[in-house]
Symmetry: C2
Subunit: 187 residues, 2 copies
DNA sequence: ACTTGCATGTAAGATGTTACATGATTAG
DNA sequence: CTAATCATGTAACATCTTACATGCAAGT
């Protein structure tokens, strides 16, 4: 249901093509909601049929033509009504934490190596968000800036807590776990 | 692909019924991975066909019979091989943060009310995790305790950062946003 | 010659959700 | 009498992912 609103959110204020949306989902908004291109094109078609967005063809020379999608008045009303609605708690799915559930059962050296890699990935993302946040903070105050600041701040806190978790987990595994003997069964 | 491993993870060390699994997914593991009961029963059937789990019927009196599922040696090997594998970064989907993207476009009073509700939900979950973490910390050291501590700690850090985000967001909306005049168009 | 960017889509399959379906026992 | 707990499933639908498919232009 929310892919719909993710797209409407991006379309507020300016028309975008499907191709543009793909890149937004890869970039900034990607932190908050993720989508692949077949999903995006299908959903745009659906939104158009519901008259929440309108499209017009832009003929280009030297590159393929594109369809630009804009929010209709109805689309905007629908979006803002949804935004004012309470959000349910998310049930997250995290492959790393699921693995960590069994980190007491594998060679702690391997576990620590995975934690180090994972920490690195999150530090990169953290640095990336910091760059974006600095740019946004410098922009003039408006609704778009407010939204971007709010989500980037969530991203920053989130990534920081991941990095801290990796450190905590590494030290736990160094303290309590000793390498299992070959062939030994742990429970 | 990971529902499979979520189930295998829970089955290490003790046999469980589908019904038991449902409750684990509602409780502790639910933070890390989520599943509904039709999914669980379907997946158990699949795992049985792949001989990663085995099942036996337990006849009960006074209550319905049940099927208990246990990890096979193959299932255990498959799980531990996967655990040692690097985890990709998760692309998260968070309805609250998606809404926050447009919080600069609605009445800031409404936005702050939603943030307060949301903060409350996360504080409750935080308190719940703290309780669990205390209980687990008191248990004797083994692989299960290590796994539980790791994931609970992630949950704690996570929930704390959500709560802090709510406070940050509330104060941002109090500082910058003034109530929109009726009918006014903001960008 | 090969890759990257621009730009759009379809098809098939895997996963996830919601509603339907049953039925005994125990507690309020 | 009503609701909750135990216990298992099916059916229909919605969503998401991966692979397939096309084609021009510009840069290396």
């Amino acid at each position: 249901m929310s892919l719909k609103y993710a797209i409407l959110t991006l379309l507020v204020g300016r028309p975008l093509s499907g191709y543009d949306l793909i890149h937004y989902f890869d970039g900034s908004v990607g932190f908050v909601w993720h989508a692949t291109h077949p999903q995006i094109y299908r959903e745009l078609e659906r939104l158009r049929r519901q008259r929440l967005v309108s499209s017009r063809l832009v003929v280009q020379h030297g590159r393929p033509n594109k369809r630009l999608f804009s929010l209709t008045a109805r689309g905007r009303r629908d979006l803002l009504a949804w935004v004012a609605t309470p959000a349910p708690l998310q049930t997250m799915k995290d492959g790393m934490l699921l693995r960590a559930f069994s980190y007491g059962r594998i060679d702690p050296k391997v576990a620590r190596a995975r934690l180090a890699e994972y920490r690195h990935l999150h530090e990169e993302r953290l640095a990336h968000y910091r760059g974006l946040a600095d740019a946004v903070a410098a922009a003039p105050t408006d609704a778009a800036r407010t939204g971007a600041l709010l989500t980037l701040q969530a991203g920053l806190l989130h990534e920081e807590s991941y990095v801290r978790w990796c450190d905590w987990a590494t030290s736990l595994l160094s303290r309590t776990a000793r390498p299992p003997r070959r062939g030994a069964r742990r429970r």
